[in-house]
Amino acid sequence: MQEHIQLTPKEINQELLSGVLGTPKWWLGLVAFLLLVFLTGAGAFGYMLNKGVGVTGLNRPIMWGFFMTNFVFWIGISHAGIMISAILRLTQAEWRRPVTRAAEVLTVFSLTAALMAAPLVHVGRPWRAALWVFPYDFGRGVWPNIRSPFIWDPAAVMTYLTASTLFVFVALIPDMAVIRDRATGKWARQIYGYLCMGWRGTPRQWKLQTVAGILLSALVLPVFVSVHSIVSWDFAINIGVDGWHSTIFAPYFIIGAIHSGVSAVTMVMALMVWLWKWDKILRPDHFDAIGRLLIIVATTWFFFFIVEFFFAIYTKEAPELALRELQIFTRPYVFLFLIFIITAYFLPVPLWMFKKVRRNVKWMFWTTVSVNVGMWLERFLIFVPSLARKTPLEFNWGTYHPSIIEMLMVAATFAWVAMGMLLFSKVFPLIPIFDIKEGMIVRDEVKIGRAIVPASIRE
C-alpha cells in the first residue's frame, strides 16, 4: 500500500461513523426508491400467489427460468464475501481491512435474496417449501427425503447463512462498543451497549477477536465450498438433461461464484467511495489489489468454462452437440451467449491488465458491473437451453419467454440486497473501525538507502 493516509482514531471514528451517527442526504431517497422497487416485486409475488404460476413464462419443459437463474446468481454473489474476507484474513493481506465487512454483509443479504428467489418464489406455493425441509406430519412419520438435493440445498444454505451472520456479528462487537461510546441518545447507547455485551477492549478480548477472525475464516471456507457444490448438484445429479450431468459442475460453479462475487465486492467498494466519500480509507491501491485478484479469478473461471465445454463436445454425442448448437448458434441464445462471453471475460479482463484501469474507481465499477451481467446470463444459458431441448424423459420441446411478473420479482431481489446494505450502513459501520485503527498502528516507514518504503508490522 503505497498511498496510505495516516488518520487518528478519532478521525477514523468520525469518518466511518458518518453514516451511522448522521444521515447522508442521498440515503433516504435511495432507500425509498429501492423500497418501491422491492414492494413492486412483492406485489407481483402476491399476484402470482393469487393467480398461480401460470402468470410466469414457465411451462413444460422449461420449469426453471428466471427464478432459478436468479437463485444461483445470488448464491454466487454470496460466495465472494466470505471468500474474500476469510482468505484475506488467513493470509493476513493488509488490503483486506476496509473490504471485509462490506463483503461479509453482502454475503448475508445475497443469501437472503437467494432464499427469496428459490424456495419462496420459485416453488409457486412457498408454504410447500416447508414440506421439503420440515417434517409435516408427525402422525404418519413421514420425514424429509434426505436423498433429494432439495434437502441438501436448504441444509447448506442455512448453514452458510447462520455462519456468515455469526461471522459478521463477532467482528461487529468492538465496533458496536465504539458506537455505544459515541451515540448521543439514551436509547441508542443502551441498545448498542446490550449488543456489544459490555465490551471494554481488554487484551484478552482483543486476542480472542483476532483468533476468532482466523478460526471462523477457517471454518467458514469449507462451508462456502460445500454450498455452491450442492447448488451445482441440483443440476449435475440429474441424468435426464443434457449439459447438466457433468462432474466438473461443482468446481465450475464455485469459481463462477467467486468471479461474480469478487466483482460484486468491487462494485460495493466503488459505491463506498462515491456515496460515503471514504476515499481516505479505500485507496486506488485497494482497487489495484482486487483488480489483480480478479484477473486470476476470471481466467481460472474461463479455463473451467472451456474445459466444461470442450469435454462436452469431445465425445461427439449427438444430443450434446445439438445442445451446444442451440446454446451458441441458435437465436435468441446466440445473442445472449455473445453478450455473456464478452461481458464476463473478453471486455473486463484485457482492461484490468492496465494499471490505470485497475486504479480507476469508475473503470473498476463498470467493468465489474459488466462481469455480473455476463455471469447472470451464464447461469441462464446453463439452465434454459438445456431444458428447452427434447430429452428421452420429456415429450415436448419448448421455449421460454419470461413474463413481466418474473422480471419484477428478479428486480425486487436486487433492490432487497441494495436496500439491506443501506439499512445496515445506517445501523453499523460498513468498514470495520477496529481493523482500520489496527492497520494505522502497525504501519511504519522504513528508510532503505534514499528510498522511504512503507512497511507493515505483523505478528
Binding site: W143, R204, W206, K207, L208
Partner: protein
C-alpha cells in the same frame, strides 16, 4: 465489601507500560489491574501477560455434537419411514454425508461463536470504571480492588502519568 475500580487514562504506550510496572511494584497482582484499548495492540506492547484461552476446544466439541445430530437425523428419519425408492438403499451414504457434513460444520461454528463470547468474559453486566475516550485512542489502565485500596491505586496511576482518573463500581452497590 463491594469491589470498586479506578481507571487511569493515558495517551502514550511507553507511559502505560511504566504504569503497569508501577502497579506491580505497589503490590497489585495481574488479576487486579487490566488494560483497556480501542485498538488491538500487538501482544506484549505494554509488558502485559499473554492471555490464556481454550477457544480451540470449542469447535471440536461443536463439530462432534453437530456430527452426532446429523447422523441421528439422517438415519433416524429414514428408518422411521423406510420407503424404498428406485431400488436405492434406505441409508445411502453419499446423501447422508452431505447432511452430516453441514451439521458438523454448523455445530463447530456455533460452538466457536459461543466460545468466543464465553472466553472473552462477555457479557459483562457492570462496566466498572470506563471512559468513552478509550475508543477514541486513549489507553486505559483499570485497577479493581476493595474500597480501602482505591486511594493508593489512584495515586500510583497519577504518579505514572495518567491524564485523567475516574472511578466506577464492579458490583451492585
Amino acid at each position: 465489601m463491594a469491589l470498586r475500580s479506578v481507571l487511569g487514562l493515558f495517551t502514550d504506550e511507553n507511559v502505560v507500560a511504566d504504569a503497569m510496572d508501577s502497579l506491580r511494584a505497589a503490590g497489585y497482582t495481574s488479576s487486579e489491574y487490566e488494560l483497556l484499548t480501542g485498538v488491538p495492540y500487538p501482544e506484549g506492547t505494554f509488558g502485559e501477560e499473554e492471555p490464556v484461552h481454550k477457544l480451540y476446544r470449542w469447535p471440536l466439541v461443536g463439530a462432534a455434537c453437530g456430527f452426532i445430530v446429523g447422523l441421528v437425523l439422517t438415519t433416524g428419519t429414514q428408518l422411521a419411514y423406510p420407503l424404498v425408492t428406485g431400488g436405492k438403499p434406505i441409508l445411502g451414504i453419499p446423501p447422508m454425508a452431505i447432511i452430516i457434513y453441514e451439521g458438523t460444520m454448523l455445530g463447530a461454528i456455533v460452538f466457536t461463536v459461543i466460545g468466543i463470547i464465553f472466553e472473552s468474559r462477555l457479557p459483562r453486566l457492570f462496566m466498572g470504571a470506563y471512559d468513552p475516550r478509550i475508543t477514541e485512542g486513549y489507553i486505559g489502565v483499570t485497577v479493581t480492588a476493595e474500597e480501602d485500596r482505591m486511594g493508593q491505586a489512584e495515586r500510583v496511576l497519577r504518579e505514572a502519568g495518567a491524564e485523567d482518573i475516574t472511578r466506577g463500581w464492579e458490583t451492585p452497590r
